[in-house]
């Protein structure tokens, strides 16, 4: 799941065209990254409105700073770092984790449509349950399917730190899953 999410042009070609003032290339870049940036922002802020604002601001920054993007790292990592910086600047206190990971969040027909509100609730739940580092690692690895090594590259951490955070995050999430499962509690 790493790499540029566009199926068409290569990322650096899009970046180069955007630098040259091609607004259509920039729109293509936004189309490719907007959902991902929004989810990152949502996970980091825990608030839908703020996530929308942060997403918008991220692309303003991307447009302004694209000339300074050297291309020696991945575009994913560069955009993630911008998102993270802006999200932490905008972040309000997160809701308490009291009612987090209730069954309601997970009672979803896998074959059916998962509605937006449940998605928001889930991400807010994760945001309120895990510390920042563990949350980032959990989202990048377990929800987006990246390897710990990729996540380490994006987060600017060592591979071993990412793995340690991932183990802690999984333990927290799974303990909560199991604690809220009625049949497990009966055993």
């Amino acid at each position: 799941m790493t790499g540029f999410p566009l199926s068409g042009p290569e990322p650096f070609e899009v970046v180069a065209r955007t630098r040259d003032g091609d607004n259509r290339a920039f729109t293509a870049l936004v189309s490719a990254y907007q959902p991902r940036v929004y989810r990152w922002a949502l996970a980091l802020t825990g608030d839908q409105d703020e996530a929308e604002d942060v997403t918008q601001e991220v692309f303003v920054r991307v447009y302004r700073k694209l000339g300074g993007f050297r291309g020696d790292g991945s575009l994913d990592a560069w955009i993630y770092r911008i998102t993270r910086r802006l999200a932490f600047r905008a972040r309000r206190p997160l809701p308490r984790a009291a009612e987090m990971l209730s069954d309601d969040v997970y009672v979803t027909d896998p074959g059916g449509r998962v509605d937006r509100q449940r998605a928001f609730d889930l991400i807010r739940t994760i945001a309120a349950t895990l510390p920042v580092r563990q949350r980032e690692v959990f989202i990048l690895c377990d929800l987006e399917g990246r390897t710990p090594m990729d996540a380490a590259g994006i987060l600017g951490l060592k591979d071993v730190s990412v793995r340690a955070s991932l183990v802690k995050a999984r333990a927290t999430i799974r303990r909560r899953i199991l604690a809220t499962h009625p049949s497990y509690g009966d055993d």
């Binding site: 920039f26 907007q34 991400i123």
Partner: protein, 193 residues
């Protein structure tokens, strides 16, 4: 493998990794662990689906257009701020420089002269001169008990001081034997005689 071993693996490993080796064998005959594994797998699958279904409300085209407009405005605002900052630096610089250059031109040369008094006491002469020449730059030093007064000031001020001393300390006008009354103002002075 015991149930505790299995559950501790389930706590931290990806569920897919439990589908191999001893863990798989344990789950095959332990109904409880099997069920728990299914619960975790189903909920994590749902989490992933829910996460992937979170979409922003604004369209990419709108976000891109707004980003371009806002970025351009910010660039213009940056240049304005830079220009304002530069102007402020220039104004402050000019202010500082102007404070260091004297505005009123060169300071007039200062002179000093000593007058020997014949009738007036140094205190009387000093008081008289201070009334007539109120300029603070004028330095008047009396040195009692010597009958001498020293005046420092511009050429013009020295000249005025000299004329006052000549006028009120002239033995022809004010006999030394007579009592000298120093007036409140010089114009009201009446020298006894």
């Amino acid at each position: 493998m015991t149930c505790d071993d299995y559950l501790s693996m389930l706590e931290t490993l990806p569920v897919q990794e439990l589908a191999y080796g001893e863990a798989r064998e344990h789950a095959a005959y332990c109904a409880d662990c099997n069920r728990v594994t299914r619960v975790v797998a189903a909920r994590e699958r749902n989490m992933t689906l829910a996460y992937e279904s979170a979409y922003p409300s604004a369209s990419a085209v709108t976000v891109a257009e707004r980003a371009i407009v806002k970025a351009r405005r910010q660039r213009i605002a940056f240049f304005f701020r830079a220009a304002l900052g530069l102007a402020a630096v220039v104004v402050i610089g000019l202010f500082v420089v102007s404070r260091r250059i004297p505005v009123n031109g060169p300071v007039p040369a200062m002179f000093s002269q000593r007058f020997n008094l014949q009738c007036l006491s140094p205190e009387q002469a000093s008081e008289l001169l201070r009334q007539e020449i109120p300029d603070r730059n004028v330095v008047i030093r009396d040195r009692p008990p010597l009958a001498v007064i020293e005046v420092g000031g511009s050429d013009e001020q020295i000249r005025i001081a000299r004329s006052i001393i000549d006028r009120f300390d002239n033995s022809g006008v004010a006999k030394c034997a007579a009592r000298v009354i120093v007036p409140k103002t010089v114009r009201a002075v009446k020298v006894g005689g």
